[in-house]
Amino acid sequence: MSDHDLHERELRDLLTRTLVDADPPRGLAGAAERGRALRRRRQARTAGLAVTGLAAASVATVVALGGGQPAVRGVDPAGTTPPSVAPTVAPTVDPGRPAAGAEPTRPDDVPQYQWRQLPPEWQQALGGPTPAWADVPAGEIGLRLETLLPAGVDVVRSESLDERGRLGAVLENADGERGSVEVMLQPTPVDPPEPGYVTVTTRDGDEATYAVADAVGEPGDDDGVRRYGDVTTVTATAPVDGGWVYVSTANTVDHKWGADSPVTADQPLLTLPELEAIASAQVWRG
């Protein structure tokens, strides 16, 4: 067992042991009453928004007829607009900054996206264009990866093919052992727009509100060989101008790598030097 595993277990134990008798000082009985008040406020705001929505629709129609930009909208203050997962057309984007002094209100179930996970055209409109070297379809990443794999190791299944800048794939070696690999082309994170929410108005007038989470950890944090029970992961990163290439592999084909993942090979199919060579390859650098 690695130190890491040991510490995870210790931490779980510590959390359970120290919180076993932690009870709320005054109880939570007031939650239902607060909930009723919240529901009343929402219903009142929904009624107000219905009127505002009619006016906004008229403005949007006028703008569209005039060939201008769609109406700019802020964060849906009441969270009454169900957010769509992704627009079907290239959107124009409103950074969603609330007016000065306005307090942004978070809808209950706004999908959260990491800044770099926002579609490139949104990032561009929000001031952080995805560089061309990272804006690569997953399928293309797979093709490039195949040219870099050592003899006897092949990609047998690619996943996440609808993504850009990231590929997850299953590898197989000459002995029929399988493992997985993940390649990410990671631009240096751009600070997300405050306060962390964006509302996008698509050209057909739909709105979607997104929360933009903080940036990822530092490159290289996870480099090297790590063991989680029987699962071994190997990770390498290499810098690119404006970001880094991250390549990681494991001796499991599980989607989520962890100590409970079923192993499909004794070791990952790629070694650390092989991964370092892949991460450093010129093919990722345009």
Partner: protein
Amino acid sequence: MGRRERDDAEFAEFMAARGTHLYRSALLLTGRPHAAEDLAQATLARAYASWRRVRAADDPVAYVHRMLVNTFLSRRRRRSSTELPVAQTPDVAARPDGVDHADRLALLASLATLAPLDRAVVVGRYWEDRSLHETAVALGLTEAAVKNRSLRALRRLREQLSDPVGPVRPATTPGDPA
């Protein structure tokens, strides 16, 4: 029984079953009992107001936990510019019932040194026992980012909790004692 009464009864049942656990999650996130109580209560209030959506979720418990974390992170963002850390906090290691909670305080103090999102990762992974994937989805991060953040948080906690001179005291907001 009408629909609203049925909803109320279901919510009451949910709160009885999960309220204390939710409070404990909130305590790990905020580090302070009264702030935790307020966070848990605010989350449950939002769950009540959206009860049909909560009930319709694949995993209502995970859904409400996600609401808790979102509320916590959202509040952190709003308050970050006005919160003033102070050096010392009231000593509450020994409670009137004589139970020594030094370990809990040390743990909460160590957690308080983590970034809010790292704290949310720790709570999701090691207290809620969520998988890497579930934690990533809940926080809108990639699994690799969750791994990075967990490893970094574990390193930090290990250093803090094994520090022979004692862990760092939590930063608190004046007027909101533990």
